[in-house]
Symmetry: C2
Subunit: 225 residues, 2 copies
DNA sequence: CGATGCTTTGAATCTCGTCAAGATGTGTGG
DNA sequence: CCACACATCTTGACGAGATTCAAAGCATCG
């Protein structure tokens, strides 16, 4: 259970700088939650009774309209924290991409701990701030970038967040998931991959194994800075 | 100065449920900041040394790339609070749309007050949460909606937030501003207005006076729920 | 090995962006 | 108060980029 703490993941570390005792108190109110691929951790509009940390696996935060349109608001990975809201109901669903090991914290008990452990509250605030900054980036991408730039934007994010800066990693989401994250269609995403491959910026094997051949060009296209 | 407190504005009320004494402490560290139209409250990448509440007027939160692309992240109005960040530098600029009366709070002193006044911290958290929810909506709009639906989305927001649910109000921003908020071009925005006017959903006078003729249809298009 | 689900590619269509002109609105000075 | 200049907005014609529809190619899994 404490493997969550040990993992060398980038941001959203809920446990950062907590004492052993404080961590134990968090662990004591948690229970394990396991998910297979393509299962929901929780649904949009359901009561926001729990919060979660991800120990293993990857998920996506999605919002759907009754017309069947879907926007993916974020991808989340091991070490991340999800489900914190001021509302009584969730504004989004969270769905797994692969096998997931999560810890579930009852909301009221968690909030009580937040009041008692100032550092925990600080960690929440820092995570919230990071999430917000990422939303700004995504908004800029959807508003200003062309399709292949948006794909580069996502690949850069995945390289940083999922793969820990590796140049080779697995694309665990489908083309449709990527499309719904970037505000495109799956065909457009597929064409963007083909184009980036032709330009020798990336290499895709078996549709889901990705290799970054030209990291500088990728960044250039991702941030059009 | 205390008019800020009294104004009946919707959300992001920094002063909500504070005692008179606590409000006075906030006011005591604040100083007045006045802006003419199209002036910057602060710039992207400048040191985040202050926070602000808006007493009067309207502004936009914008992020620009060195390529000259601009994404407007939000419009903000009287009663709103802006500039809160965990970074040492601002991730965005804030620029006025008309004459603005703001209050400026030195960041360190403000943060100290947050530690001393739990309700103030709670207000910040609530505001942050509202901002996040609005970012979700905007992301959905940019990712999933067509141009005229995005324009409806903005008009609905303005009717709610700027005009206090009125059916008639002034469009204080330019077509270019609207375009940069919605990820479109000014021409597309203009065409969307013409189309909505032809469909008798809105009426535009002198390019900046707006009247909502069919509120239900507007909502329908805005939320395509 | 065939069935299924996902991905790629092609062709037609459509929406939106670009470029350009003209209209409307605003502000200034005579 | 009018006339002129400058900003902004509207509209049209065209082209680029994205979506849609359709078919074919690949993996995966029983």
């Amino acid at each position: 259970m404490t493997t969550i703490v040990e993992q060398p993941f980038t941001d959203t570390l809920l446990f950062q700088e907590l004492s052993d005792n404080e961590r134990d108190r968090l662990v004591s109110i948690a229970k394990v939650r396991k998910l297979g691929p393509r299962q929901y951790l929780f649904h949009q509009h359901s009561p926001a009774d729990s919060l979660y940390t991800i120990g293993d696996g990857a998920l996506m935060v999605e919002r759907s309209s009754s017309r069947g349109q879907r926007q993916i608001l974020a991808f989340i990975f091991a070490g991340n924290f999800v489900g914190f809201t001021h509302n009584d109901f969730f504004e989004y669903s969270v769905k797994s991409l692969n096998d997931v090991n999560a810890m579930e914290y009852p909301r009221l008990e968690f909030l009580a701990l937040c009041d008692e452990i100032p550092q925990l509250k600080k960690n929440i605030d820092r995570i919230t701030s990071n999430v917000m900054l990422r939303l700004f980036d995504q908004l800029f991408a959807l508003g200003q970038k062309k399709s292949h730039e948006r794909v580069c934007f996502l690949l850069q994010q995945l390289a940083d967040r999922q793969a820990g800066n590796a140049l080779s990693f697995e694309l665990i989401m489908t083309r449709q998931d990527i499309a719904d994250y970037l505000g495109l269609t799956l065909e457009t995403v597929s064409r963007a991959f083909s184009r980036l491959q032709k330009d020798e910026i990336i290499k895709v094997s078996m549709a889901h194994q990705l290799e970054i051949l030209a990291p500088d060009k990728l960044k250039e296209l991702a941030f059009s800075s």
